[in-house]
């Protein structure tokens, strides 16, 4: 009986959200607010359990090795709360500076070491591999990368050879946008498939239940 009730609630809320397709209405608003409230509550519990309790309180209480160092991030975390008090809100900048510094350092190394260098290496390709098909693929990649980079070269007016090459770059960019849009359509339809399959299987389950 509880399972059937759960199915009714889930199916009802799905239909309530989908009713927005016809037009904004109070049933949709109710489901939307319920979702926002539920998500906020969920986040709160998770933050308490997985962050504060498991990563701060528990290691300190159990005197785990190195737990003393947790006092440092805890201190900076508490400083963030000073934003609630305008007179001392400036202190929170120390925590923000700490976070921005770490974030910038990590992003820089990740981007260079894990993205730019491997991607540049992957573009340096032989134009003749002995196989016509893979040679053509390599040629497309090399031309695509070079012409797209030229399109984003704004130090000289896009006229003459530069203009014609940048136009080829636009073509590659448009093809990339098209592929991305096609995948986006596929993703959105997948979500609709998921919900309609759920509704249909819910109906079948309920019919079976009664």
């Amino acid at each position: 009986m509880i399972e059937a009730l759960g199915i009714w609630v889930a199916a009802g809320l799905t239909l309530a959200i989908m009713s927005f397709l016809y037009g904004d209405n109070p049933i949709y608003k109710f489901a939307e607010h319920l979702y926002v409230g539920y998500s906020a509550g969920y986040w709160l519990i998770y933050t308490w359990h997985f962050t504060i309790k498991l990563m701060v309180i528990q290691p300190i209480a159990e005197k785990q090795p190195g737990a003393i160092f947790l006092v440092i991030p805890l201190f900076f975390g508490v400083l963030m709360l000073t934003r609630w008090f305008p007179r001392i809100a400036w202190i929170s900048r120390w925590s923000i500076a700490f976070t921005v510094g770490i974030g910038a350092g990590l992003t820089l190394t990740g981007a260079i070491h894990g993205y730019i260098i491997p991607q540049v290496k992957a573009t340096i390709l032989p134009l003749w591999t002995g196989n016509g098909f893979s040679s053509f693929n390599n040629l497309v990649i090399v031309i695509g990368v070079l012409t797209t980079l030229i399109y984003f070269f704004f130090s000289r007016p896009h006229t003459g050879v530069l203009g014609k090459t940048s136009k080829v770059g636009i073509l590659f960019i448009m093809i990339a946008f098209g592929a991305s849009f096609g995948y986006t359509v596929m993703a959105r339809i997948s979500l609709l498939i998921g919900r309609l399959d759920f509704l249909w299987s819910s109906i079948l389950k309920l019919v079976h239940f009664f």
């Binding site: 969920y42 498991l54 894990g114 309609l196």
Partner: protein
């Protein structure tokens, strides 16, 4: 072009969009309701992902990262189940890890469901590390020692009390990481874990992200790519267990046909209207 035709195209351009919603809804629903199926062809990207796992010797460890929530469940949950079936069928050990807190119950649900199908035992054949905030920091610290960020599993059980975890300390003990991604975590796995620790990676991503992830595959930074529901259906075919991915493919294909028709009609309407305005 006579007046009646122009009037038709004009009307078509101003059609209430709810008719389009209804048509798409019906096109998607009818194949589901009538159980229509389509042949699924396996792409090289998915085959490469499958082969990477298939080549692992028995007892190897596969870490699966659940980086999605309910919003991406229709695309990524079928991938999770298909990959788990593959792993358990080959007697590989599975570790689940979560970087999206709302994905924790979803991932655990899929893991328990498939583990039950194969009679696998928690702590011996599979385990769930649970969720930790801090994404990049957690990924990097796991390169040294998993226990430095995960003191226990999802229920707080100390990792050393789980038999399968006794010899698993860092990425050296993990054969492949599979990232199921609905956001930027996939980039982090590639840019930090693959680049720094040379960890083999497979990414399963939502279709929206697939086009942006292909450069990683082309550069050899990931071993395989499973994109969207179509990718999930392909993996289901490879593990010979058709499930939700297959159910969705007929709807997906017919919906794409309908959208292509809408785009063609919309463009014809646009050019007709422009021609009329130019007085041709």
């Amino acid at each position: 072009m006579n007046g009646e035709n122009i009037s038709f195209w004009e009307k078509l351009g101003k059609i209430d969009r709810r008719w389009i919603f209804l048509i798409i809804g019906l096109v998607v629903f009818i194949p589901i309701a009538f159980g229509l199926r389509m042949t699924v062809h396996v792409s090289p990207a998915v085959k490469s992902a499958y082969d990477t796992i298939n080549r692992l010797p028995e007892g190897s460890v596969v870490m699966i990262s659940i980086d999605y929530d309910a919003a991406s469940m229709p695309e990524l949950q079928p991938m999770l189940k298909a990959i788990l079936r593959h792993c358990f069928d080959k007697n590989l050990k599975v570790i689940l890890i979560n970087f999206w807190p709302l994905g924790l119950p979803i991932g655990n649900q899929g893991l328990e469901e498939v583990a039950k199908e194969y009679g696998k035992v928690y702590g011996v054949d599979y385990m769930n590390l649970g969720y930790r905030p801090g994404d990049i920091a957690v990924m990097l610290r796991m390169g040294t020692e998993i226990r430095s960020v995960f003191y226990g599993d999802i229920k707080g059980t100390p990792l050393d009390s789980l038999p399968m975890m006794k010899n698993i300390h860092n990425y050296d003990d993990i054969a492949v990481v599979v990232g199921l991604e609905a956001g930027s975590m996939g980039d982090y796995w590639v840019q930090y874990v693959n680049a720094r620790f040379k960890q083999d990676l497979i990414l399963g991503v939502t279709a929206v992200m697939a086009a942006g992830v292909y450069p990683y595959l082309q550069a050899g930074q990931i071993k395989g790519l499973i994109g969207g529901l179509k990718g999930a259906a392909e993996y289901e075919k490879l593990v010979n267990h058709p499930a939700f991915g297959h159910i969705g493919m007929a709807s997906q294909s017919w919906a794409h046909v309908a959208i292509i028709l809408f785009i063609i009609l919309g463009n014809i309407g646009y050019f007709m209207e422009r021609r009329r305005k130019r007085g041709l």
